[in-house]
């Protein structure tokens, strides 16, 4: 009997039966939204990694004589800003910063939030009640307000912006993880592992964890897009990246005085932000469709 129960956890591989990953990839490939999103992200990732090779100019070099050159003029594909810096190169380097911010802050949020949610859901009791109370209080603060206050207290910088965004995102991951753990922990396969003598740590991290990754990865994908937007907002308020960093939000902020004269300085960094965030939102929506069969129409 014990053997057949433990078998539910590790199915014997039948020849011709595709692995879970292959099955996941097959259905993801049929999802237009996910593939478009993935394509956008891939382009941005390539630009981020190879920015030094791809960018035609140094993003910080100022050619004062060429200041505010419109796009497609004098070899400047996207024009130059008020200090004569190449917009295309700045946007390319900005991709680097935004991708790093997105990944780092979501890692902070999902690791801390996931761990808290796992422990709270698994052990329950007083620890669960106290941590969930704290999470509720954090959720009582509007997200962007919480981020602004944390970064204002830590001091304005890019690193602190990432930490603040990560902290503000903790509650959502904690809740999702706790919910999934509560749903999984009484399942037969977990009870079976337990009856076979598995320890708490083993149950949490090797039995239950893999089954909570679907909702977590949907939220993390959407979270990266939101983190990019938040970091742009913080830089816009002067609380994130500092000049002359080519960060998109900061570029938009410093273009404020050119709304009357140079549309490209105002518009282009925003368009880059929009497309990048759109990529993560498309992928997140697609992942949700693929990973959550209940939502499939």
């Amino acid at each position: 009997m014990a053997e057949s129960v433990s078998a539910t956890n590790e199915l014997p591989s039948i020849p011709g039966d595709p692995s879970p990953f292959v099955r996941f990839w097959t259905s993801l490939r049929k999802n237009n939204s996910a593939m478009t999103g993935l394509g956008i992200i891939a382009v941005f990732a390539v630009v981020a990694v190879f920015a030094p090779a791809l960018a035609p100019y140094d993003p910080l070099i100022q050619i004062i004589g060429d200041r505010l050159t419109p796009p497609l003029t004098d070899g400047y594909f996207l024009g130059t800003d008020d200090l004569g810096r190449d917009m295309l190169s700045r946007i390319m380097y900005g991709t680097r910063i935004s991708m790093i911010i997105g990944v780092v802050s979501v890692s902070i949020g999902s690791l801390v939030g996931g761990l808290v949610g796992m422990l709270a859901g698994y052990f329950g009791g007083i620890f669960d009640r106290i941590t969930m109370r704290i999470i509720d209080i954090m959720l009582a603060f509007p997200y962007i307000l919480l981020t602004i206050v944390i970064v204002a207290l830590l001091g304005a910088s890019l690193v602190n912006a990432m930490i603040a965004i990560g902290i503000s995102q903790i509650p959502r991951y904690a809740r999702i993880m706790r919910g999934s753990v509560l749903a999984e922990k009484e399942s037969d396969y977990v009870l079976a592992e337990r009856s076979l003598g598995a320890k708490d740590g083993e149950l949490m991290f090797s039995t239950i964890l893999p089954n909570t990754l679907a909702p977590m990865s949907v939220q993390a994908t959407l979270g990266i897009g939101e983190a990019i937007l938040s970091s742009a907002a913080l830089s816009f308020l002067g609380l994130g990246a500092q000049p002359p960093t080519p960060e998109w939000g900061l570029m938009i902020a410093s273009s404020k005085e050119f709304v009357t004269s140079a549309w490209w300085v105002v518009t282009l960094p925003g368009v880059a932000t929009l497309i990048a965030v759109l990529g993560f939102n498309l992928l997140g929506d697609g992942l949700r469709d693929v990973l959550d069969p209940r939502l499939q129409e």
């Binding site: 009582a140 206050v149 938009i252 709304v259 925003g270 929009l274 965030v277």
Partner: protein, 338 residues
């Protein structure tokens, strides 16, 4: 129902207590010295000590916290370091501006979003459906402050249709009555028959409201569409159709009513978020509301103002969420029992 409301309000108390506690300790434990901020870098040690005693900063933290709690309960958030005025008074002065902007944005977002969502759901996979859902996805993916700037660039600077900022033509020497300028303009119109204040207030409100309302609009449209699709697929709609009830009536009366439940929730949540999103829009449109005020308070490290602002905004946010929950159980009797 009465008991439900009472229970929910009682449940609110620990959350609000937590909000006040967190707001107090976040600022109290942050680096920087309020006395130093008030007196400037070159203040003498004696004056600093004197001010610290006066502000109670020399006492143990836990005592300061107790004192702060006892004052907050009486709606006393202390005195703003920057202006020297009572924080409560400043917030009360600025709150109408923010609420007016948020309400206008929400009315725009709800109306347009629901209509768009319903039309998209009625003709699923049509050009209108695809286009409006693509627009909605773009809407949730862009930075609000950037949209605001682009709108200023196009509609204020380029086409010269709307002012770039402020709430009222500065040449009007306008004394607010309620602080809600639309309402004030209307009162003046009734009293004196002069519509210029009302028109000016409206003229200034359009651009910020549309900019602030765009993201909620996109979210409301998406939720309305998926909720409508679910309802339109149900048996009672098919029955209604087979009974020959006009399509228009089925969509807007029978289906929409039930489809609105999740939409109401989203509208409430978005309204709460708008109040905090105002910190960005108000800064761009020079809108003298609580968001712009809080931003400057943070910049100036005006501790009592920041604490008060955070507590008030979060409290309103929590209250709106409560209201939405209660409203939801009023509309949908099925969940009232829980």
């Amino acid at each position: 129902m009465g008991r439900l409301i009472l229970r929910r309000i009682v449940q609110l108390i620990p959350t609000l207590f937590g909000v006040v506690t967190l707001a107090f300790f976040m600022l109290a434990l942050s680096p920087g010295d309020p006395a130093r901020v008030m007196l400037g870098e070159r203040a003498s040690q004696a004056r600093l000590d004197e001010l610290r005693t006066q502000l109670g900063l020399d006492r143990p933290l836990i005592e300061q916290y107790g004192l702060y709690l006892s004052r907050v309960v009486q709606f006393d958030f202390g005195t703003s370091i920057k202006s020297g005025r009572a924080v409560t008074e400043e917030i009360a002065d600025l709150f109408p501006a923010t609420v007016e902007l948020a309400l206008a944005a929400m009315v725009f977002a709800s109306f347009t979003g629901i209509v768009l969502g319903v039309l998209a759901a009625r003709k699923k996979n049509s050009l209108l459906d695809t286009a409006s859902m693509a627009a909605a996805l773009i809407g949730v993916s862009m930075p609000v402050f950037w949209l605001a700037l682009v709108m200023i660039m196009i509609f204020s600077v380029g086409l010269n249709l709307f002012p770039t900022g402020g709430r009222m033509n500065i040449r009007y020497y306008f004394t607010p009555i309620t602080g809600f300028y639309l309402l004030d303009g209307f009162i003046v119109l009734l009293r004196e028959g002069d519509p210029k204040y009302l028109m000016s207030a409206l003229h200034h409100l359009v651009l910020p409201a549309v900019a602030l309302g765009t993201i909620p609009l996109a979210i409301i449209a998406r939720v309305t569409r998926s909720s409508m699709l679910e309802v339109l697929g149900q048996d009672y709609i098919k029955t209604a159709k087979s009974s020959g009830i006009p399509d228009f009536k089925i969509t807007f009366v029978y289906a929409l009513r039930n489809a609105l439940l999740p939409v109401v929730t989203v509208i409430g949540i978005q309204f709460g978020l708008l109040l905090s999103g105002a910190i960005l829009t108000e800064t761009i449109f020079a809108w003298p509301g609580i968001g712009k005020w809080l931003y400057h308070a943070i910049e100036a490290r005006d501790y009592p103002a920041v604490q008060g602002g955070i507590i008030v905004i979060s409290t309103v946010f929590v209250l709106i969420n409560l209201l939405v929950d209660l409203l939801y159980s009023v509309i949908n009797p099925r969940i009232r029992l829980q």
